[in-house]
């Protein structure tokens, strides 16, 4: 038995997942306009996560014989619209009586079907939730979802941002709110339609290709009709869940983007220094040059070989306007897109963006500029200083862009999520900006590795390094000319473009500034 046989021994995709994938792909192909909320809605109808709070509520409902009649007496709902800053709108639902808050939901509730008295010319129903253009099925049109007004929905607001038009009005028999947003997506309009007669709210996502007047006509003719199919209430997607998911914040992990100068060695070009590497011995056993330490278990320790010792040094750094220094055989395919008709690297267009909060301000491009891109070719020597051959040595290299302060090295990136570019000051426009959009190749990682081995399929391996032997490897990147003066090279096999790893602070980085 070989580990490579694992593929044959892995369980096959269950039939219901296979069928779900086929169905979902087909649905998505037809339904270019479905958004994440609808997907969530569909999922929730099938299965709903059971938080402690919901479990407790369900237990309570199940234990109350009168639970199913309380819901019929739930009070009248109202839709509220409040301005939130210049570009924010808070939409909320309130009920008339306090009893509504505590009334348990029935265990079953009828499903509803959307009916429209008015359908714009040229549109048709695609499915029960979508109106589409007959001639252009991938265009925006209407996409609708219904949400249950559960007992937790009372006084919960949702905030729409980047709103440039808004109105609270009546659409036929229903109260509603219309909003239009400055948005890059094709759905830039929305109508909330309160349907208290079926304890629902309907949300219409409306494409930019639909006139506001047409949207009003459709909304005015909407009816939610009970189908009689009884659903488990706990399975129906509700307003409170919708609001909860809308306000959920992404979890972000801590990234170490700055390090005190005293805590990281800086090596010069031509300076050799020890590097932890991994590979195999002549018998094919996995070995590494470093002590795995206490965070690894005894199995890992067995592969530590103190008789292996590797040094590394940067021999040279070359800068070019084209790719003529590279051997085409080892180039990444994406390199071809970096060359213009003149054979030179194309310029990189930078857009300096000041982020809006969507409430008081909108995203704004404060300035654009074009900068030259350069090829950075680095030649690195790996030398086996030990007395044992090591094969299939994994090599790695990443260019870090670093701003130096009196005390720290600070990694910067054009992305606002990495480093501290947010709030940077643009001297030319005289304004602060939060991130930079770019069209070029800077920051996309290594484009060239001159030595390959079949080991591990990744390619970036030195086939063999005998005792006393040195092997040269060439690696290349494309970067903005303006960043050449801030380049440092990380040769550790951990850490990346955007963070200082523990290995890097122990091993050090190489100053390759030009």
């Amino acid at each position: 038995m070989r580990l490579e046989d694992l593929k044959q021994q892995y369980p096959e995709t269950p039939e219901f997942i296979h069928q779900m994938i086929l169905d979902e792909v087909e649905k998505q192909m037809k339904n270019n306009t479905m958004n994440e909320w609808e997907a969530a809605s569909r999922r929730k109808k099938r299965k709903r996560p059971w938080t402690f709070k919901r479990t407790a509520a369900a237990v309570l409902a199940a234990s109350m014989a009168l639970g199913t009649v309380g819901f019929a007496a739930v009070s009248i709902y109202h839709l509220s619209m409040k301005e939130n800053g210049k570009y924010g709108v808070d939409t909320g639902i309130t009920s008339d009586t306090d009893e509504g808050k505590s009334a348990p939901l029935p265990e079953k509730i009828s499903d509803v079907k959307i009916q429209a008295d008015y359908i714009p010319e040229g549109m048709q129903w695609r499915d029960e939730d979508h109106l589409e253009y007959k001639e252009n099925r991938v265009s925006g049109a209407f996409s609708m979802i219904t949400l249950l007004l559960d007992t937790e929905s009372d006084e919960l607001d949702i905030t729409d941002t980047d709103v440039i038009e808004k109105e609270k009005t009546e659409f036929g028999d229903h109260d509603g709110i219309y909003i239009k947003m400055k948005s890059k997506t094709e759905f830039n309009q929305k109508i909330y339609l309160l349907c208290p007669e079926v304890h629902r709210i309907l949300i219409m996502h409306i494409g930019e290709d639909v006139a506001r007047e047409e949207a009003y006509k459709v909304a005015s003719g909407i009816k939610l009709v009970e189908t009689g199919e009884m659903l488990d209430t706990s399975e129906v997607w509700s307003w409170s869940e919708y609001v909860g998911q809308e306000t959920e914040t992404e979890e972000t992990s801590e990234i170490r983007t700055s390090v005190p100068k005293k805590d990281i060695p800086i090596h010069e070009i031509g300076e050799a220094f020890p590097l932890d590497v991994s590979g195999t011995d002549v018998d094919g056993n996995y070995v590494r040059t470093y002590d795995p330490g206490t965070d690894m278990d005894t199995n890992d320790a067995q592969t530590y070989d103190p008789g292996i010792d590797v040094e590394v040094q940067v021999d040279s750094v070359e800068i070019a306007d084209d790719l003529s220094l590279l051997d085409e055989e080892f180039m990444e395919d994406k390199c071809k897109d970096s060359i213009g008709p003149d054979g030179k690297l194309v310029k990189n267009q930078l857009s300096y963006i000041k982020k809006g909060d969507g409430i008081h301000t909108l995203d704004e491009t404060i300035r654009t500029e074009e900068v030259d891109q350069k090829l950075v070719l680095v030649t690195v020597s790996y030398t086996n200083k030990g007395d044992k051959e090591i094969d299939n040595v994994c090599y790695n290299g990443n260019i870090l862009l670093i701003n130096e302060t009196d005390d720290d090295y600070r990694i910067y990136s054009y992305d606002s999520e990495i480093g501290d570019i947010a709030g940077s000051y643009d001297e030319i426009s005289g304004q602060a900006y939060d991130y930079i959009e770019q069209t070029g190749f800077t920051g996309r990682g290594r484009i060239y590795s001159s030595l390959r081995s079949d080991f591990g399929m990744g390619g970036n391996y030195i086939p063999a390094l005998k005792p006393g032997e040195s092997v040269q490897v060439k690696m290349a990147w494309i970067t903005n000319e303006t960043d050449l003066e801030n380049m440092y090279l990380n040769l550790c096999d951990t850490g990346g473009l955007w963070e200082f790893s523990e290995d890097m602070t122990e091993t050090g980085i190489v100053d390759i500034r030009q």
Binding site: M1, L6, I21, E24, P49, N299, M457
Partner: protein, 161 residues
């Protein structure tokens, strides 16, 4: 990449998506949820994919994110990480698992994922590094640790490493 091409890719990647999800989640129902969400998000974000050649790694990254979202969303869903006794559980399909797969299931999540991506889904070290957003060296280290652990737990078998 067009939506038609994405649809073709997704259908062709069915087993890879399942294997990825199964490396993180215990229950097939949860795997289904994560994959379904991933498909929807992939279609919604396909225009952001700049280079088609990275579509497969991009898709797997989305699947993994959705697996973690499934874990975060509800306490009922259980990740393999929180269920180290997974191999001893009595789920119906469990009896069909091979000893090798069983041993992989017992690995820590970070090792199980790289093992699955490398040996089952046949991604390259570089692709796995992109999917997991770690360095290639870190991928290789994890693979080595996984191999060592598997060798230890399967030492009674004639496993070639």
């Amino acid at each position: 990449m067009t939506k038609e091409q994405l649809g073709t890719l997704i259908i062709a990647s069915e087993q890879q998506m399942y294997a990825t999800a199964k490396a993180i989640l215990k229950e097939d129902n949860d795997c289904a949820d994560a994959i379904q969400e991933a498909i929807v998000k992939a279609f919604g974000k396909v225009e952001n994919l700049k280079e088609d050649k990275y579509a497969r790694t991009w898709l797997m990254r989305i699947v993994m994110n959705e697996c973690y979202n499934v874990i975060r969303r509800g306490s009922r869903q259980v990740s393999l990480e929180n269920c180290p006794e997974a191999a001893a559980m009595t789920e119906p399909e469990r009896k069909d698992y091979s000893p090798l797969y069983d041993a992989v299931r017992r690995l820590k999540e970070e090792l199980r994922i790289v093992t699955t991506l490398y040996y089952v889904e046949e991604f390259s070290i570089r692709e796995i590094a992109a999917i997991l957003e770690i360095s290639e060296g870190a991928v290789q280290k994890r693979l080595a640790r996984a191999r060592a652990k598997l060798r230890n737990s399967l030492d009674y078998m004639e496993v070639e490493w």
